[in-house]
Symmetry: C2
């Protein structure tokens, strides 16, 4: 029951020169399921990433951080589903390294040039033997037009694969930005979500990539939440093969730099919103804008308080305009000197609350009309400044409980 | 489906000399429901309270704060269910004052001597006319042995009334502590929960009462959570009629002071835990102890992260020992320099995690055995200090979604 989301059309997903993807069935957790993905990058590529801020971060996340910080020239990514390799202590690190060593041998590169990723159940031992046995199949499948299959290969409780692609023209040359993501529960990314991968052939100076991936994460994956549970494995990676024949981008604020930023952000937002649309049990897609704050941080606090409130989320599931629950969430969001008498609340175009109380002209049937839609915008005005931000989330339904009560069975 | 909670036996609820309670049907929201309660206190009583820290606090909470701060001699409390009188702006304050004025006239006291309380739906207009019309019936019902009826009279989505009573001997004299509480959703009190009332006839110096109510709240109502939603109306009030014939308590650390503190805390913890046992949709009662922290505050952060995680709560509902979700919650609790390799986790007597990874001797069937119980203790060791705290919560079930999707209908 994803909200206004459909299977990406493979022909809409433009290959990125210099990037190949291969997918296979390794039986990590379940048989007959494509659960192992390898992505290779031609020489001369640049890679940057942002990772979970969960202090209990997974073993592969620790290796990714280490390798990117060391400035290794990354040439491959290996991604398994079915097992998160998190909460696995020292043994988890050994197993993540073993996966990279096996792949490095087969690709004739060094293990330090590989970024490993895992997603699935926490606190279970990674079956390295099965992953190793699957690698030749993934390598044999490597090709540039494999993005749709890779989007499927990284799914866990997702009901649909998530992918997006854009083409722009830089210096008269066509440049591609294509990406995939997954995630349906344990979603409140704090830096990025497990898992997002965006690749481009844009010729961008490698040291600009980290700023670009951070900027894109902050307005996409870092602004979505499903259940408030920040994953142990969140990872968002931006890869640039730098194959495009335009002049190298050396400034993100140049015309070409801005065009690339916009394309990367558009793809990232599409991928992040797709995760919410496919949120576990989601029946509504909800955009929460908080404006008139003193800082973006306090706007985010209020927006996340609304987005995480089980009472708000169940009211949306029921299409019940029990909108006082939104006010309560704003009130406990942690803005210590908030004046409740200045609060305004709109639901789409319906003006529900003014000066902290019910708007005299608000009619319940107007609220009801909006609540029944599949896409809803909540707009809260704090009236104490000029900052604003938007967070995307979904409702809380019976299916969320069913999915998470049964996840491992 | 409350967890190990039953209707209090009226004969176990000792009357408190100097305190009377009266309950009636006022039709605030629904007909044929006892929804209006009046509590009166004899002259010479002392009252202290703690209230929600939600910045969007209800009109009656604002009046309570104002009157207690002004040092008014409180002689009566008036409590309605069915309407929270929150998110109602200036008009809500006018209506809360009108309720007090009407009651003051009938009791021949001043409106400033009355504390008003409301609980129910947010952002609806308080029907003062119906409450005024109900007051004579509540006053006619006033009597000391009416605690069980009052416990029913303050319920909203509660399935059972909540009350507790203790008797102690101070200076050879029998002293009573009796209290009631309500609450089943929008429960993550931040100072206290809507609604808790505890009365004693102990002869305590009035200026000690605020310290006592704060201490009791901090280890009872301020340590429970159902859905993380801090209510707009949380109020916890301690009343002392000071009728008991022992020498006045002038020091909370004297032998008599300590005995009274223990009795008040015991009654408060019973009432707070009863709210969790009757949590909306609850099927399990879960105590979460986090120890080995540097501060109690960081222990509480970790305990609340676990207690609020929808993934942890649904796993408990399913009796599924998917315990990595607990580690993930500890990891994102906001303890910035947490070392995951020091974490220990016990489920009752079962040692699940050691040094941050799965304990080699942990067997899934042992976790499964504990998860099937109706009362479960989670114990997390941070191994970085000596502070500890305990938070009580419940699981997240289909019934929570049903109850909150249908609450107003």
């Amino acid at each position: 029951m994803p909200v206004n989301l459909s299977v990406p059309n493979p022909s809409d997903l433009h290959p990125v020169p210099g990037v190949q993807l291969g997918i296979t069935m390794a039986g990590v957790r379940k048989a007959n399921r494509r659960d192992l993905t390898v992505i290779t990058l031609d020489e001369g590529s640049a890679v940057a990433g942002v990772f979970t801020k969960n202090r209990y971060c997974a073993a592969p996340v620790q290796l990714c951080r280490e390798r990117l910080a060391a400035g290794s020239e990354i040439r491959a990514l290996v991604i398994n589903t079915g097992n998160a390799n998190a909460g696995t202590g020292e043994d988890g690190l050994v197993r993540a390294r073993a996966t990279c060593i096996a792949l490095a041998r087969q690709l004739s590169i060094s293990p330090e040039q590989i970024l490993p990723f895992s997603t699935g159940v926490i606190m279970e031992t990674l079956p390295v033997d099965r992953i190793e046995a699957g690698l030749p199949g993934a390598i044999a499948d490597l090709k540039p037009d494999n993005w749709a299959a890779a989007a499927e290969g990284i799914m866990t409780t997702d009901t649909l694969p998530k992918a997006a692609s854009r083409q722009i023209t830089l210096g008269g040359v066509t440049v591609t930005v294509t990406g995939i993501s997954k995630g349906a529960g344990m979603i409140r990314p704090n830096m990025a979500t497990m898992l997002g991968y965006v690749a481009t052939d844009a010729n961008i100076r490698p040291d600009l990539l980290q700023a670009l991936v951070t900027e894109a994460a902050n307005v996409s994956f870092n602004r979505i939440t499903i259940d408030g549970d920040t994953s142990t494995n969140d990872s968002f990676v931006l890869m640039a093969s730098r194959k495009a024949a335009h002049a190298e981008i050396t400034d993100l604020d140049s015309a070409e730099g801005r065009a690339l930023r916009e394309a990367v952000i558009a793809v990232s937002q599409h991928l992040a919103q797709a995760i919410v649309r496919d949120g576990e049990g989601a029946t509504k897609f909800i955009a929460i804008t908080v404006e008139g704050g003193r800082t973006e941080d306090e706007c985010a606090k209020a927006a996340y308080a609304i987005a995480h409130s089980p009472l708000v989320k169940t009211a949306f599931f029921a299409s019940d305009p029990n909108l006082g629950r939104i006010l309560a969430a704003v009130g406990y969001a942690g803005i210590d000197d908030l004046d409740q008498n200045l609060i305004e609340l709109h639901l789409d175009d319906v003006h529900v609350v003014t000066k902290g109380g019910r708007n005299p002209s608000y009619r319940e049937e107007d609220g009801q009309r909006v609540m029944k839609q599949s896409e809803i915008t909540i707009r809260v005005g704090l009236n104490r400044g000029t900052a604003k931000t938007t967070v995307w989330t979904c409702d809380l339904s019976h299916d969320y409980v069913s999915i998470n009560a049964d996840y491992r069975s």
